[in-house]
């Protein structure tokens, strides 16, 4: 059988650091960075006698995520201890969830090449993050526990993904979702979004799963794609040679572009899970769920569908939906100028987004051109008070000077000339001094209209309302 007849089966385990103020089980700040071991306390250092106290904000954030992906939220869930030894794990166990996770089932919806895809979720559970080992070049190792105890939720997908591209897009959708929900900054570089991939291959059409490998250390969208692609190719090559895929955990080395075995099935940890006796079960009642539901924003997929319904291009919609502040900006502008969704999208994408480094700057109340101001400008252009070209100039000044379009137009008479008499006068002058062109136009050369318009514009210093110019020229040349 040729390797072409195999399909890949991929499931992702995505770890999301929740953007709580304090850690999941203690009072230290959960913020990224700081001096090593600055954000620590007896609990997250695993000192003798210290006990965890659950941060309800972390539960609330996970509940919101669960609701957003339509998981079943367990009315009663509990934590379990997951044991293994590692220097960055201060208690000798991680407080995670095992047989009673907070969220079960659900699905993440996203689009790949315009097509809607759905990836089912197995579960979403909460746990505490470990610290970080730092290895000195001299051979000494240090441990920084600032990250220890930062809340994580782990989103485990079903093996519904079929390509590296699709896996990367799914991961992007998860990031967009957690950012929409405001529960994480989803920053892969800082590790607030991390991903392990389970990859296997099977003959196309088969229903049984092949032997899987787990890929670790794939911490950028590019690495996710590269690592999974490499793993699919590696497994296909093995099978092509008649060899078996070995169940193991492999570590991706992005510098060398390949993975290496980390531990085999036989070396797998026995985590010795048991219910965390220091924490009572977590009860999420109907009132909690109702409050969380009310607080949910419009989700990316719903917004995507709504904006497509406005007649926007798929490409524009993708840009507007990708980051919540962009879509929010668009919606606020649209509320002020509901007749012009396409124009607003163009102005937002071409002018506004070109001037900000990060979409988060759009939510800043200090964004130089707020949504209503953009809407006002677009209205002026669409009414013909400004040409597109003038509009762009006005926009630049709005951004620079933080002034409204109406103010600039009124104060400095940059508006277009819409006085029919003035325009007609200019049109007559152009027609009178161009007899040859008039003859050729009347003889059927319609392209010459551009010549007349251009000359009228020159006559009026570019301020004539192009719509009126066209109308009047057509009459004169008829």
């Amino acid at each position: 059988m040729s390797t072409l007849d195999y399909e890949a089966v991929i499931g992702l385990e995505v770890h999301v650091q929740l953007a709580t103020r304090s850690k999941i089980f203690s009072v230290s700040s959960a913020e990224f960075g700081g001096e090593p071991n600055q954000h620590t306390d007896p609990v997250c250092l695993g000192l003798p006698g210290a006990l965890p106290v659950l941060n309800r904000q972390a539960v609330d954030m996970t509940v919101r995520l669960g609701l957003a992906v339509k998981s079943h939220i367990r009315p009663r869930c509990r934590f379990a201890r997951k044991h293994y030894f590692y220097p960055d794990l201060p208690k000798g166990f991680q407080i995670s969830q095992y047989d009673e996770p907070l969220c079960e089932g659900g699905a993440v919806t996203f689009r790949l090449d315009g097509e809607v895809r759905q990836v089912r979720l197995t579960r979403i559970h909460m746990e505490d993050d470990a610290g970080k080992n730092i290895h000195d070049s001299s051979g000494v190792s240090f441990v920084d526990f600032n990250r220890a105890g930062v809340p994580l939720c782990e989103i485990v997908s079903e093996p519904d993904l079929r390509s590296a591209e699709e896996a990367a897009e799914y991961l992007r959708a998860v990031r967009t979702l957690v950012r929409y929900l405001g529960i994480s900054d989803g920053n892969m570089e800082e590790g607030s979004l991390r991903c392990d991939a389970n990859v296997s291959i099977r003959p196309r059409g088969a229903s049984r799963l092949g032997t899987k490998t787990e890929l670790k250390n794939i911490n950028s969208f590019k690495h996710v794609r590269d690592a999974i692609e490499h793993e699919i190719a590696r497994q296909k090559a093995l099978v092509g040679r008649g060899e078996a895929v070995v169940q193991e955990t492999r570590l991706w080395d992005p510098d060398r572009g390949m993975s290496a075995p980390m531990r085999s099935k036989e070396e797998a940890h026995d985590y010795r899970y048991f219910p965390e006796p220091d924490l009572p079960p977590v009860v999420v009642d109907e009132a909690w769920l109702a409050a969380a539901r009310v607080a949910l924003p419009e989700l990316p997929e719903a917004r995507h569908a709504r904006l497509l319904g406005l007649g926007l291009s798929a490409q524009d919609v993708s840009v507007l939906v990708a980051e919540r502040p962009i879509g929010d900006y668009f919606d606020r502008a649209l509320a002020a100028a509901p007749a012009h969704p396409k124009k607003l999208a163009n102005w937002l994408i071409n002018e506004v987004l070109g001037r900000v480094a990060d979409a988060r700057q759009l939510v800043d109340p200090d964004v130089p051109v707020p949504p209503a101001a953009l809407a006002e400008l677009v209205e002026l252009v669409e009414q013909g008070t400004l040409s597109g070209k003038l509009g762009k100039e006005v926009f630049a000044r709005m951004w620079q000077e933080r002034r409204r379009a109406g103010e600039i137009v009124a104060a400095e008479s940059v508006s277009l000339v819409s006085d029919t008499a003035v325009i007609e006068e200019a049109c007559r002058r152009v027609v009178e001094r161009s007899p040859d062109e008039v003859a050729r136009y009347r003889g059927g050369n319609a392209k010459l209209m551009g010549f007349f318009v251009g000359n009228v514009m020159k006559e009026t210093g570019g301020k004539a309302n192009p719509k009126l110019v066209n109308e009047i020229l057509r009459k004169l040349l008829a």
Binding site: P42, F93, R272, F274
Partner: protein, 490 residues
């Protein structure tokens, strides 16, 4: 005035300080003197913080002189089982693996003692990580029973019980996981109470088996124990298993009397194998309670026979988990030389832990291994539920249960060391109450012919400490056993 602290109740000491009869500093010096003279024979203290105690006492004395309030335990010198984390004071849990560990924080219970004006004399000896029934598992040195220096004081809070018995401090705090307060209290002839689970915060109490660990006090009298419990009990937001109810009025309860109370006598607690002198003393105590106005009724706790097996499954699982953090990376003992991470762990833990923690870590690791959870731990949790139901059913009929504490009086040092199973079976009457989370108190109800104390256990329903104190207080009011003091060792 320098008081004679030998045998002087804690409550009386606090009153004397508050009234200005004597100074806290006088009490501290008197105890420091006794410790210096006597404790090398007893071994109750692992650490004596003489300077800290003097400073705290002087501060109390200044407040008294200035007419300020000093709290219900103002100026009273207390000892703490070395399982309570104390800021700036070495805390070892009786283990070499924590030798040299100076905690940067304070346990809730000891902070509450200090806030009530108690003066911390030092840290008390114990079985390593509270694992043991004889205090011979201390990594440092054993504790000797003040009633007979050749015998054990019981464990794991052996130092805490012996220190009160020998009048080396006014009162102490210990912990009880399977009997570690009640059994040494019985063997040393003092009062010890294991309150309802969650009644006293576990924050800052070094964990052995989290769902079974119960901090609680030792006192010379029932009222002393009540006074200590009133101070340390009550909700603590730092312990998620802490119960929300405020502490009760235990001192008052201890003086209420028991007229009309219904007391259950569980038949499973009077089985073959009990020392006849113990049985006789306990039965005599039951008669005394009857004379005090209580009605005694036979009751049954049918799942008692499974309590020890259940207890050892749950506590070893907990131990294997809670002791995983002692890895030599952040604090405590680290092996001198290791060439790999595995070697660092193996040698650090191999050198740092004694035989009993190792035995329980191995057992607990076995209990929790993949695929066997239901067979062991899961089943133990279900049986635990049945044991708790036994108590609930009994308390539907009676207000409290009365029973022996230990089937034998204090045994000889070394006698059971070679036979851990025999040692475990000695816990037969003490393991069920912590499994059910219900309060239970041990007090002296007589002596053997050879002069060893015998314990009486009163078990109450969950949150029913008042009932327990009523029974214990009424019994104590009618008897003189608590007035007997061991001879000071020569």
């Amino acid at each position: 005035m320098t008081p004679e602290v030998r045998g002087l109740p804690l409550v009386a000491q606090a009153e004397g300080v508050a009234r200005g009869t004597w100074k806290s500093r006088d009490l501290v010096e008197a105890y420091l003197d006794r410790i210096a003279r006597l404790d090398k024979r007893i071994g109750a203290f692992l650490l004596v913080d003489a300077e800290g105690a003097r400073r705290a006492a002087d501060s109390i004395d200044r407040k008294v002189a200035a007419g300020e309030a000093v709290g219900p335990l103002g100026g009273v010198p207390v000892g703490l089982k070395d399982i309570f984390v104390t800021r700036g004071i070495e805390t070892t849990a009786g283990s070499k693996i924590l030798k040299g560990f100076i905690p940067p924080y304070e346990s809730t219970a000891t902070a509450r003692l200090a806030a009530a004006g108690a003066v911390r004399l030092g840290k008390l000896n114990m079985d390593e990580f509270a694992m043991g029934s004889s205090n011979e598992n201390s990594a440092f040195f054993p504790v000797h029973n003040p009633w007979d220096l050749g015998r054990v004081p019981g464990g794991s809070s052996g130092g805490a019980a012996a220190a009160v018995a020998a009048s080396l401090c006014a009162g102490t705090l210990g912990t009880d996981t399977g009997g570690s307060i009640r059994q040494p209290a019985a063997l040393c002839g003092v009062v010890g109470i294991k309150p309802t689970y969650g009644r006293v915060s576990r924050y800052g109490v070094i964990a052995f088996a989290s769902s079974l660990d119960h901090p609680g006090p030792f006192g010379r009298t029932v009222e002393d124990a009540a006074a200590l419990l009133e101070v340390v009990a009550g909700h603590d937001p730092m312990d998620s298993t802490s119960i929300p109810q405020p502490a009760g009025r235990y001192r008052a309860a201890s003086k209420t009397g028991i007229a009309g109370m219904r007391l259950g006598v569980p038949k499973e607690y009077f089985q073959a194998g009990m020392d006849p002198e113990v049985e006789a003393a306990v039965r005599a105590a039951l008669d005394e309670l009857g004379r005090a106005g209580a009605t005694l009724l036979p009751v049954s706790l049918p799942h008692t026979e499974y309590a020890i097996a259940t207890y050892y499954l749950i506590c070893t699982a907990g131990a294997s988990s809670n002791l995983a953090r002692y890895d030599g990376v952040r604090y405590g003992h680290r092996t001198a030389e290791a060439h790999s991470l595995e070697e660092l762990y193996g040698k650090t833990r191999g050198e740092g832990f004694g035989a009993e923690p190792k035995r329980r870590i191995v057992l607990g690791t076995y209990v929790l291994r993949a695929g066997y959870y239901e067979a062991y731990y899961g089943k133990a949790l279900r049986v635990r539920r049945l044991i708790a139901n036994d108590f609930a059913a009994a308390f539907a009929e009676v207000d409290a249960l009365v029973a022996p504490v230990s089937p034998t009086p204090a045994f000889k040092l070394g006698e059971r060391l070679s036979d851990p199973l025999q040692m475990y079976l000695g816990d037969i009457y003490t393991v069920a109450p912590p499994l059910a989370g219900v309060p239970a108190l041990s007090q002296c109800c007589g002596f053997t012919k050879s002069g060893l104390p015998i314990g009486l256990q009163t078990i109450g329903p969950a949150l029913g400490e008042e009932a327990v104190f009523r029974v214990a207080g009424a019994y104590e009011a009618r008897t003189d056993w608590h007035r007997r003091l061991p001879e000071d060792p020569a």
